[in-house]
């Protein structure tokens, strides 16, 4: 589904991602853990074709395609909702649906808002939304165009426990066997609950990667993660 070969990203003298070889199978979920500054967000931005790599390549679906065409197949949930606060949730989604060239933008916007449980607040400006509601609206934005690959950048950060539970339920609902998920998180409990594989990114390098079965208990992985983070 997705592979990177010797992917490297430098910002001046700083190496954010270093010689990364990664492959993720179609329909699987990879959770990437890492301390602040490990390069998690940069990695997701590279995979979303938001930034260009310094060297190396990203192969999507086994083919090399233009970034513009691939963006149609990728959904990226960022730290920010990427929505306009003066527009309603429905208007924001209708706007993005038009950018993605969806055939029935209005219907689709209503559908995804209902899917994330915001249909009753669809016509309110999002500046009145709580953080949890904003995050759900952002998930609706990401799902608009039915992306094959979902990139989720610390989706649980800043959410209260109810908000995180609601988001977890939405993300579990997206594991339909066809859609590939890559998420970065500090939340070991929720990250492991969602993933098939987990990795630890340290200073732009994948220091550890294992399948969910190989990881053992959550406590084991948490102490392993802590040990890697302290060494960093």
């Amino acid at each position: 589904m997705l592979a990177t070969r010797a992917l490297t990203k430098r910002f001046g003298p700083h190496i954010a991602i270093s010689d990364l070889h990664l492959s993720v199978a179609r329909g699987s979920c990879l959770a990437i853990f890492g301390p602040n500054g490990a390069g998690k967000t940069t990695l997701l931005k590279l995979l979303a074709f938001l930034v260009k790599p310094t060297s190396g390549e990203i192969i999507f679906g086994g083919k090399r395609e233009e970034a513009g065409d691939l963006r149609q197949r990728i959904g990226f949930l960022s730290h920010q909702p990427l929505l306009y606060r003066h527009l309603t949730a429905y208007e924001n989604l209708k706007f993005y649906a038009r950018l993605y060239g969806l055939t029935s933008a209005r219907k689709r916007a209503r559908e995804v808002l209902a899917a994330v449980g915001l249909d009753d607040r669809a016509d309110e400006p999002i500046q009145r939304f709580s953080y949890g509601m904003l995050q759900r609206a952002a998930v609706a934005r990401v799902l608009l165009h039915e992306p094959e690959l979902l990139l989720l950048d610390e989706p649980f950060s800043g959410l209260d426990s109810q908000g995180a539970r609601d988001l977890m339920a939405i993300l579990e609902g997206l594991r339909d066997g066809d859609r590939t998920l890559i998420l970065t998180t500090h939340d070991v409990h929720r990250g492991l609950a969602l993933c098939d594989e987990a990795g630890i990114l340290i200073r732009g390098r994948l220091a550890y990667r294992a399948s969910r079965a190989e990881l053992g208990s959550e406590e084991n992985f948490a102490s392993l993660y802590e040990a890697h983070s302290e060494r960093a």
Binding site: L50, R71, P125, L143
Partner: protein, 243 residues
């Protein structure tokens, strides 16, 4: 919780008409978004209009009644007001995209970067033209100029000079917005490049206000400038708007 139906996508396809249709639909979506956001926030047009009117009124006080007889002075005052109002407005519309990192949302979508630039530019042009439409009658009254000249005969010069300002200004605003001192950076980048537009606009306006026709050579120069810089801006938009 999430049950989503299969969505048919207009994936561009090989056909040229479909790609063109999609391109202009995306441009239209960006213009619609900018106009709706501006209608609700009232952050750009009112600031620009108030600034323009203040400049016109202050210079009117400075030069006294009957300044309209000094046509070159009046046309210089008019374009000083429009230029600074344009800088204010264009800085603001691109800053809006940085708020909440919305520019990232635009860049994530499969939109041609030139369509994104064109949408932002058309939005800026609409705001500038609204401010100019409000300011020109007042300019005529304050500077004791024939209203039919100011409102009707001057329209081609104003329109063409605004397109020139808007295309170059939107391009530099998209660069300046990523810098720390964007309020300073935009005028620094913009002014040297729009000097020819301003000279042509001031001369053309003086020509019109003196009752000597539609702007003469200035009008022709503005057409050429607009075509060159509009095409150049669209070509380099991809490199400017990417990382």
């Amino acid at each position: 919780m999430v049950e989503l139906k299969e969505q048919k996508l207009l994936r561009g396809g090989p056909t040229w008409p479909r790609r063109r249709w999609r391109y202009f639909a995306q441009v239209g979506a960006i213009v619609w978004k900018d106009v709706v956001v501006e209608y609700r926030s009232k952050g750009v047009v009112i600031t620009m209009a108030v600034f323009t009117l203040l400049v016109l009124v202050l210079f009117n006080f400075a030069f006294g009644p009957g300044a309209g007889r000094e046509v070159p002075v009046a046309s210089g005052i008019l374009w000083t007001a429009f230029l600074f109002a344009a800088v204010l407005g264009m800085n603001h519309t691109f800053a809006l995209e940085k708020e909440g990192d919305c520019m990232q949302g635009l860049l994530l979508s499969p939109i041609d970067r030139s369509a994104l630039f064109l949408g932002k530019m058309v939005g800026n042009l609409i705001f500038l033209l609204v401010v100019e439409a409000v300011s020109l009658p007042l300019f005529g009254i304050l500077y004791n100029l024939p209203l039919h000249l100011v409102v009707w005969t001057l329209a081609p010069i104003v329109l063409l000079a605004t397109v020139g300002l808007g295309s170059v200004g939107s391009l530099f605003a998209s660069i300046a917005v990523n810098t720390k001192a964007r309020e300073v950076m935009l005028p620094l980048l913009l002014f040297p490049v729009v000097v020819p537009v301003l000279i042509a606009a001031v001369r053309g306006t003086a020509h019109v206000l003196a009752g000597e026709g539609w702007g003469g050579d200035a009008l022709r120069f503005l057409v050429v400038y607009d075509v060159v810089f509009l095409v150049a801006s669209l070509l380099v938009a991809e490199y400017v708007l990417e990382e």
